[in-house]
């Protein structure tokens, strides 16, 4: 039943699931290596939850197949569940039980106790312990997510499947959650995690960009960024709406989108160096009465996602 050394912990081939007329997951293939943190990035409705539920034995695919930890999620569901920690997207704990009661309950489901697993949950428990007697529904959003992670981990699984663990949580708590995941990675745990936050991509070894039930791109975050296929320029200053309109009217504009303080302008000409595009653009804007600074920049995952959406025609 165990897989060959060097084999993948998660393999999906053409995994498909329909709900009525909607194909939520449409022929998804991917592979996650042992110890890898693999992120699935995409908006609500992209199919992330359906994909994860199929891999976590909770939903039967309409087509395609999967092997998870060398097991078939349909045929071997009980054996697989014992080795897999799943954290659903919606808060799934008992709101009227305390922190330690929730943890003890989830441990008992898997025939263990929190004490027996102390070494596994130690880094998270350290943060939860001050609130051990607090009811789960009285925890802050960030602490609820940490408790859910702790409960998913309490039977010492080899694989964690985390469905949007940071959604609706503020930026600081998101950072803390990822720090915890970083410690678990150090222990060799394989982690499959989904998120709508593009900035979390860089925390993953590899990411898949997902939209409309399909994977648009799968690679290391740095490779996805480096593969951005057009010159990209950051434009700063002036009136944002005016600048946006001007940039979109530029004869070589592929796109212009606000990115925090600046606007990211993508040129249609792959062969022109970004520095040259920036210099031309600054002169051109000045001629139209818009004073703005233009500088070539490296693409972020969010730039890449927007590009991929445009190509997929999903935008």
């Amino acid at each position: 039943m165990t897989q060959a050394p060097g084999g993948a912990d998660v393999v999906a081939e053409g995994l498909t699931r329909r709900f009525g007329a909607v194909t939520a997951v449409d022929g998804v293939s991917l592979s996650v290596a042992p110890g890898e943190t693999f992120g699935v990035l995409g908006p609500d409705g992209a199919g992330k939850t359906t994909l994860f539920r199929m891999l976590a034995t909770l939903l039967v695919p309409d087509a395609g197949r999967a092997r998870v930890l060398g097991l078939d999620p349909v045929a071997d569901l009980w054996a697989l569940r014992a080795q897999l920690g799943y954290m659903p997207g919606r808060f799934s704990l008992y709101p009227d039980l305390t922190v330690e009661e929730n943890l003890a309950f989830f441990a008992s489901v898997f025939g263990t106790t929190p004490a027996a697993q102390a070494h596994v949950i130690a880094p998270i428990w350290r943060q939860l312990e001050p609130f051990r007697r607090r009811r789960a529904d009285a925890l802050s959003g960030g602490m609820k997510q940490k408790l859910a992670l702790c409960c998913a981990l309490v039977h010492a699984p080899r694989l964690l499947v985390l469905d949007e663990p940071t959604t609706g949580v503020d930026a600081v708590s998101r950072g803390e959650f990822w720090e915890l995941l970083g410690r678990l990675r150090g222990d060799g745990l394989t982690i499959l995690v989904s998120t709508p936050y593009m900035d979390e991509a860089r925390q993953c070894d590899r990411v898949a960009l997902m939209q409309g039930g399909r994977l648009l791109q799968v690679d290391r975050p740095a490779a996805i960024e480096a593969a951005y296929p057009r010159p990209l320029v950051a434009v700063t200053g002036g009136d944002r709406l005016g600048l946006l309109a001007a940039l979109r009217a530029h004869p070589h504009a592929a796109s212009a989108w606000p990115f925090g303080e600046s606007i990211h302008f993508t040129d249609t000409r792959p062969e022109v160096p970004a520095a040259q595009v920036a210099a031309e653009l600054e002169t051109w804007l000045a001629a139209t009465g818009q004073a703005a600074r233009c500088a070539p920049i490296a693409a972020s995952i969010e730039d890449a996602f927007i590009w991929a959406l445009g190509r997929a025609g999903a935008a």
Binding site: T167, V172, P196, L241, P258, G260, L309
Partner: protein, 255 residues
């Protein structure tokens, strides 16, 4: 709750004005002496960690919760005694937008137009431009439940604007949508503000905070930062709003 003398006809040029606005729940002070203003046509970012008091403050400003102390005026009316008048002059879009999934696009607009006190003829007049702007003209008979999330959000925003309010409150309007839809939504916000409506918006995306004319960051019920994005960063000596947010909220983020 509030004593007499509601500064009759309080001559405020602000769309929102809060002075020492406070709300206590038992011995817990959720909102602690908020003082700030929002001008007509301004996009004001209302930031803070989970549990910082943003929702409580917003519920007071839209007239759903009475203040324990302090005062606020919204669209020229005093929060508390004039909550009814305020509700007619504001729009509100909640995180779980309040559209009816089992009504069509057209029916939702008619329903909300009616609830906001518009006559049938006014609703009919405004329906076309709203649908046109959203690119939904061909989908008027479609059930809202069948629309993609991004369209629903834009429709919920338009419905919150159908009575042409002076102020619109948006509570995490862009959660969960793709990066293009998120940006299109902000372009709708800009257009709305350019028409003179004040926009108060909460978000967990700090890049969106940069799109605001001014912003505030709430920590433990108080305003820990207030100003333009450039000014609050300069004041704190940090390069990014991420860094500022981290510095201000980490002490309170452990629980």
């Amino acid at each position: 709750m509030s004593e007499a003398t509601p500064a009759a006809g309080h001559a405020t040029a602000h769309a929102i004005e809060a002075r020492g606005l406070t709300r206590r729940f038992g011995d817990f002070t959720a909102v602690d002496g908020l003082t700030f203003t929002v001008a007509p046509g301004e996009v004001f970012g209302f930031l803070g960690a989970n549990g910082a008091g943003k929702t409580t403050a917003m519920r007071m400003l839209i007239g759903l919760l009475a203040p324990s102390a302090g005062d606020a005026w919204v669209a020229g009316h005093r929060v508390g005694p004039e909550s009814e008048q305020i509700r007619a002059r504001i729009g509100y879009m909640s995180q779980r937008f309040s559209l009816y999934d089992d009504l069509t696009v057209r029916e939702n607009i008619r329903l909300y137009g009616g609830l906001y006190g518009l006559a049938d003829a006014e609703i009919a007049d405004r329906m076309g431009p709203v649908l046109e702007r959203l690119g939904l003209a061909g989908h008027t008979r479609e059930l809202v439940g069948r629309l993609p999330l991004g369209w629903k959000q834009q429709l919920a925003f338009s419905v919150a604007l159908v009575h042409r309010p002076a102020v619109v409150f948006l509570d995490e309007p862009t959660g969960g949508v793709d990066p293009i839809t998120r940006r299109r939504f902000w372009e709708l916000i800009y257009e709305t503000a350019a028409g003179g409506t004040a926009v108060l918006v909460t978000t967990h995306y700090l890049d969106e905070a940069e799109y605001c004319d001014r912003l505030s960051i709430m920590v433990d019920g108080r305003l820990a930062a207030l100003g333009t994005p450039a000014a609050v960063k300069a004041e704190a000596g940090v390069a990014s709003l991420d860094a500022l947010f981290l510095r201000l909220t980490r002490p309170g983020s452990a629980a």
